[in-house]
Each structure stands twice: as structure tokens, then as C-alpha cells.
Subunit: 225 residues, 2 copies
DNA sequence: GCCGCCAAAATGTGATAGCATTTTTTATTT
DNA sequence: AAATAAAAAATGCTATCACATTTTGGCGGC
């Protein structure tokens, strides 16, 4: 019963960091499903570590709202409700278009080429049905753009939203044929090549709308928020 | 040398929570100035606690970007630069107008009255030059509005931005006559009474612009970002 | 069959100690 | 006086332990 996937650990990585990234990954790929009851000591035992670094890792994840520390000595991945999903999705729209706007001035042809290569790799992941790689590369694609701005303040917030949507988003992409996401990425690249900021924001909005919001609403029984 | 102000501690509060809120408050009121070198053990000694809960508290604050954990075994409050300030301020604009928009449907007369009372109390704090209370009540005023939406996802992000602006904002309001902020609050209340969402967002933008951005830019040697 | 009660197990929490590493200080040399 | 080397102090990290509290499981009474 390997409920929490292992991740590579470099030699200079502290145990606390290792626990953090391993739990974070487990949440992101859906290995820890919402509403699963967890305990500090249980996690420590399961990862083969002492409780101390586990507590630090969980506190961090709790600050990012990827885990909830309940009153009854239990931890859990927060549940997704239609209301919360709608809020997270709208927040994602606002934050990512804002991040794109603030990054736009730093856009260069070499960046666009890098993003185009990443997008091409994603086509392969789609064919192989490698959902983990697909999720990771999709995040990388967006992050490459947003992180062009050297004074980073938005990106951590976006990462937090991604993390909160992660466990649910995973279920979404398992069910839905999602070639359209690729198309939206192509639209983003086209707008970037034209140095068309409104077009870029519109493409990002469609990307999020098509790849997350529409299917998410559908899965949460047809709520239109 | 009481560098870190004490705060009340209820009996059921864990040491880790106490350390978190005490450090958070110290950062917010400017008791820990940017670039001050701190250590885990030093903080533990200064607060009279063991390192374990201190570490958890610092990890939380680090996740909220209120503290940086450096490579050289030191902690510090992040430094404010013109670029970072501009990013944080623009982010505050986007997040707070978005939060107001998402909260608008839940607005009621009783809420408006409560906010009006809070605003009236702020006038007293201005007369007494009680900057701690003023900061706290200003946050309370905005939070009352944004938290009307029962599916909260934005508020934690706004709190993080407030915290990052806190140490610097403190220096700003120490220097500047800030009666205009009160006027902007009145404009917000008027727009809310008219159930005028665009007017409310415009008032929020002016509130942030006047109370933070303009003077902040001025203090950071005339950058206009 | 259901509810309250009591013992036993489990849990969160925080202080402590030992270890490895880094930083700082002191001593020595050029 | 400056640079280098060695010694000393400080620091981060994590396993462990003890304590208080809570949860759990079983038992008897209604």
C-alpha cells in the first residue's frame, strides 16, 4: 500500500523539505484524495520519519491551504464544493491574466520559442496519456510566462491556487478528452508572437475556461455559478 | 530591550500559534524591521520558548512571505524595493476589487452599518494618533466586506499581501497625514448604499492608491513604476 | 438495540539532546 | 597590517521522550 508516492531526494535536502515536497506532490497528483483522514504520527510512520519535520511540512501546506488541520486531531485534503470551485476558478482567471499583464513587457522571442517547445512536448504526453507529466508541463508552460517579471509576488499565489485545484483537477482530466487545451496554448503563443496583450489574456481565459472551469462545473453536477 | 511586543495568549492556545501570532504582529507593526538578521535559536530565546514551536511558526510566516529563510542560517523580514512595492500594490488593487465583486451579492444594510461604525471609530484613532489601532481597524473594515462571501479563497491571499506591505506601510503612515483614507472609506460606504459595484471598486482603488501607492512611491524615491 | 461509562490506546505538543555544519573568533604567519 | 589557519562558538536539524488531552473500544445497564 504505497499511498504516498516517493520522490527523488537530493543529498542536501532537509527531511522537512523532503516531507513537504512529497506530500505536496501526493496532493497534486491526487494520491491523497479529499476528505481522507490523516494524522501527524500516521504520516510520520508512513514516510518513515519522525513527527518533527512532518509537522513543519504540514504547517507549510496548511498555510497554502493544501491541507486543513482540523480540531479533532485530524488532517485532511479540503473537500471541493461547487462554491469553492467557482471561487478558485475565478481567482485563477484574475491572477493569471494579471500575471501575464505584468510579465508582458519582459517577453522575448527566445521565451516564446521555449514555451512553444514545451507545448510540443505536451502533445506527446497527451498521446501517451501521461497525466502526471501533462499536469507538470502545463504548469511549467504557464509559469515560464508569469515568471518573466523579475519582481515576483503573484506566482506564489497562483501556485497556491493550482495546489488547491490540483486534487480535483486531476479527476477532471482523467475523464475528459482535453486536446482543446493544446489549441488554447497555440492561441496564447500566437498572441504572444503578435505582442497582443489583450489577445493573450483572452487566450488564457479560454484556456482556463475550457480546461478547468467548464468540465469542473460539469463534474460538480451542472452548477453554473 | 523588548524588541518583539508581547500579545495576549489564551489558555488553549498552543505555543506554536502564540509564536506565530506574536511574530506576525511584530512584523505588522514594524517592530521587526526589514533586513534585520534573526535566527531560530535567537527568536526562541527572545520569546522564552524552545526552538521547536518557533520553527513551525517561522515556516508558516515564510509560506506567507512575511519572513525569508536565507541560506546562511539567518532569517529576515524581506526588504522593500520599488519594483516589489509596485507589484504588491497592483496585486492588492486586483485582489481587493475582485474580492469586493465576489462579495457584492451578499451585501446587506446591517453590514454597511457595521462598517460605518468601524469607520467612525477610525476617526477617533486618527485623532489619538494610535497607528496600531488604525492599521488594525482599517484591515477590519476591508475584511468585513470581503468576508461576506461564504466561500473564502481570496481573503488569505489578501492577508498575505497586507502582511508583506505591513512593515513598509507602517513607515508610510508614520510620515503622512492620512485623513484622505477616511474620505475614501466614506466613498466606499456611499457606493455600497447605492448598491453601485463599479463605484465601490473605484472607491477601493482610490483608497489603496491614496493611502498606500502614492506615498509609498514617494518614500521609495519618486519611482512612478 | 441504544446509551452512558470507563479503561486503553492513540494523538498533538513541546522541551531536550546529539550531531553535522557553518559561522565567528582567535592565533599565527607573512 | 593583511591574509591564512586553527580553534571555538553558534546554529539548524531531527530523533526521542514525557505529558496532557482526546479518541476509541468494550462493557454493563436500561
Amino acid at each position: 500500500m504505497t499511498q504516498i508516492p516517493d520522490i527523488p531526494r537530493s543529498v542536501d535536502m532537509t527531511t522537512q523539505d523532503y516531507a513537504y515536497f512529497r506530500l505536496r506532490n501526493a496532493i497534486m497528483v491526487g494520491a491523497l484524495r479529499p476528505n481522507t483522514a490523516l494524522t501527524f504520527r500516521g504520516l510520520a510512520e508512513q514516510l518513515g520519519l519522525s513527527p518533527t519535520p512532518i509537522r513543519e511540512a504540514v504547517r507549510r501546506l496548511s498555510s497554502e491551504h493544501a491541507l486543513e488541520v482540523l480540531e479533532n486531531r485530524r488532517l485532511r485534503v479540503p473537500e471541493m464544493t461547487p462554491g469553492r470551485f467557482e471561487e478558485l476558478a475565478q481567482l485563477r482567471l484574475v491572477l493569471e491574466t494579471h500575471a501575464a499583464t505584468r510579465a508582458f513587457a519582459y517577453l522575448s522571442d527566445v521565451t516564446i520559442d521555449t514555451m512553444a517547445r514545451l507545448d510540443a512536448q505536451m502533445d506527446g504526453a497527451v498521446r501517451n496519456r501521461d497525466l502526471d507529466a501533462l499536469t507538470r508541463m502545463n504548469h511549467d508552460f504557464h509559469r515560464l510566462l508569469y515568471c518573466l517579471n523579475p519582481h515576483q509576488t503573484v506566482m506564489p499565489l497562483i501556485e497556491s491556487i493550482w495546489l488547491q485545484l490540483g486534487p480535483f483537477q486531476r479527476r477532471v482530466i482523467e475523464d475528459v478528452d482535453r486536446t482543446y487545451v493544446i489549441d488554447r496554448h497555440k492561441e496564447m503563443l500566437d498572441a504572444m508572437r503578435r505582442r497582443d496583450l489583450p489577445g493573450l489574456c483572452a487566450a488564457i481565459e479560454r484556456d482556463i475556461e475550457d480546461g478547468s472551469i467548464r468540465s469542473g462545473r460539469q463534474m460538480l453536477h451542472g452548477t453554473t455559478g
